[in-house]
């Protein structure tokens, strides 16, 4: 009986692992197959090897709006978002921890409420705001918005981290003549790399996959990020699967590799209290 239970448990664990991994393996495998082979061997076991799909996906169906440009746009969005997020999030979080109890709790509550504001409520106003400021189809403007949308979560995670920061170090720094801001830049930040990396990665994962805001805000194909572009790919290639799989693997593989390398930091970020929607 006990053996049977243990056996069932291992079957369950392996089955779920297969369910999780197989789609990604298939995406990568089918990306290297010709259209005919995909139809004949839908599980990727057979057929010849080709790089053609990647060329088509990279340049896009029209030759100018493919994954190449989507990746470049996503990179601009991600860099702007992370820069905004950390530049505003880290100092806010740190100086919140220095405030008196009551003010601190109030501010934290504001940020908590902001984290549950659903994106669906923000879509139309953002469209209006972007339209008004000329930011439609501008990846940097979207990056700035993402950085701000992710701000409450970042502040909450970092506040949790900074509130455990040892006083003694801070006091020692002020005895040495550093101002509060100097202490933050030269003592606190260098000692908080793990938490900063963890929050940035969580924000990066959010930014890399977000489409609800990006679909209406980036309607020009040359301005689109990876998720927006991929969503449009399906219609553009009219049942041609090879380039779609190539596009999917180009979109998914970088972020998965980043995750596999840094997964300890990400787990830490989650343990500190946050994930982006």
């Amino acid at each position: 009986m006990r053996r049977l239970a243990a056996f069932a448990k291992h079957v369950l664990l392996l089955l779920w692992s297969a369910l999780v991994v197989v789609p990604f393996v298939l995406i990568c495998l089918l990306a290297f197959r010709s259209e005919k082979d995909i139809y004949n061997y839908p599980l990727g076991l057979g057929g010849s090897f080709t790089l053609e799909n990647f060329a088509i996906a990279w340049w896009g169906p029209g030759g100018d709006t493919g994954v190449g440009i989507f990746l470049a746009n996503s990179a601009s969005v991600a860099l702007t978002a992370l820069a905004t997020n950390l530049a505003f999030g880290a100092p806010s979080a740190y100086f919140i921890t220095l405030l008196s109890g009551k003010v601190r709790r109030r501010l934290i509550r504001v940020f908590l409420v902001a984290t549950v504001v659903p994106l669906v409520l923000l879509v139309v106003p953002y469209f209006q705001l972007f339209d008004f400021m000329g930011g439609l189809n501008n990846p940097f403007a979207l990056g700035f918005a993402y950085g701000s949308v992710a701000l409450p979560t970042t502040v909450l995670i970092l506040t949790a981290f900074f509130s455990d920061f040892p006083h003694e170090l801070r006091e020692a720094a002020s005895l040495d003549g550093l101002t509060a801001f100097g202490t933050f830049i030269r003592v606190v930040l260098p000692l908080s790399k793990g938490a900063l990396v963890g929050t940035s990665l969580l924000a990066l994962i959010f930014v890399w996959g977000e489409s609800q805001l990006a679909v209406p805000l980036l309607q020009d194909p040359t301005a689109q990020t990876v998720p927006v572009g991929l969503l449009a790919f399906r219609g553009q290639f009219q049942g041609q699967l090879g380039p779609i799989f190539a596009g999917l693997s180009l979109a998914a593989v970088p972020i998965i590799i980043v995750y596999l390398i840094f997964n300890r930091f990400i787990a830490k970020g989650i343990a500190l209290g946050g994930v982006f929607r």
Binding site: A5, K9, L12, L13, W16, S17, L19, V20, V21, P23, F24, L26, I27, Y39, P42, L43, T84, S92, L112, V113, A114, V116, P118, L119, V120, L121, V124, P125, Q128, L129, D131, S148, V149, L151, P152, W208, G209, E210, S211, Q212, P216, V226, P227, V228, L231, R234, L241, I244, F245, A251, A252, I255, I256, Y259, N263, A267, I270, G273, V275, R277
Partner: protein
């Protein structure tokens, strides 16, 4: 604080303003009153969509929490390879939701899709087209949403399980409780706070999920999988009815904020936040 104001407070005020207007997408916003709300509340599409969204969110949240609890229970007793499982099970949540949705859309296609190909290996029918029929299209979307959400729920629940002291289980074993009995009479009750937080979070996320639904079905066929976020997008950006779209968004937002506050209450009462 200014950024939070600019990107949260102003938009919400703006969303309410637009929802009270007939804004066509350009030009100034002129407040006209509650007409959009009346139109939304009188439209059968809205109720259809609301019902779909609630069914979708409840089934997805329940599925995610059940599977994640089962997996966490299996891993928590120091199984070989536990660290690897922990890492790889999170991958579906890391991969861009749009990519995941587009892949699963192909996977459910007749004959050539992965799902049907595997069904063929098992000797089953290979030309099912679940996504093409209005009566079945929601099922694949539910399955995929569960599939991508389990990883995160698993990490939360496992974290909760690992905080239960081993001595509790030792005492139970001495009293002769079987592992199954221990799971139902000890683990589950002790985990209740974590389970309810995880369920509420997933309920909110599923309610709010745009990418998976849009990427797999564009809300179709017909309106079969049009959940509220998709309906907002369709109404505002495809039909150009920004006022009505905003009214739906405000109603959906209100429902979600209530859910959010409930979940925050639960979280805070345990002092986790």
């Amino acid at each position: 604080m200014a950024l939070v104001g600019l990107f949260f407070v102003v938009p919400i005020v703006q969303a309410v303003t637009v929802s009270l207007s007939g804004w066509p997408g350009v030009g100034p916003v002129e407040i006209e009153g509650l007409g959009n709300y009346a139109a939304v509340l009188a439209s059968p599409e809205f109720y259809h969509s609301l019902l779909r969204t609630v069914v979708f969110a409840v089934v997805v949240a329940f599925g995610i929490v059940s599977i994640a609890t089962l997996l966490a229970a299996a891993v928590s007793r120091r199984v070989r390879g536990a660290r690897i499982y922990r890492v790889i099970w999170f991958i579906p949540g890391i991969a861009p939701a749009a990519a995941v949705a587009v892949y699963w859309n192909t996977a459910f296609q007749p004959e050539i899709g992965t799902v049907n190909a595997i069904a063929g290996l098992l000797g089953l029918n290979t030309n099912s087209a679940l996504l093409a029929s209005p009566s079945t299209a929601l099922y694949p979307v539910i399955l995929v949403s569960i599939w991508s959400g389990v990883g995160f729920a698993f990490i939360l629940i496992l974290g909760g399980m690992e905080q239960i002291p081993v001595s509790v289980y030792e005492a139970a074993s001495i009293d002769g409780a079987s592992p199954a009995r221990q799971f139902f009479s000890l683990t589950l009750p002790l985990l209740r706070p974590i389970l309810s937080i995880t369920a509420t979070l997933n309920l909110i996320w599923a309610f709010n999920n745009f990418t998976t639904v849009w990427g797999m079905t564009n809300g179709g066929p017909g309106l079969a999988t049009t959940t509220l976020p998709v309906l907002v997008y369709r109404t505002a950006f495809i039909d150009g009815q920004f006022g009505e779209g905003s009214a739906i968004a405000v109603i959906a937002g209100a429902i979600l904020l209530v859910l959010g506050f409930v979940s925050l209450r639960i979280t805070q009462s345990r002092g986790v936040s």
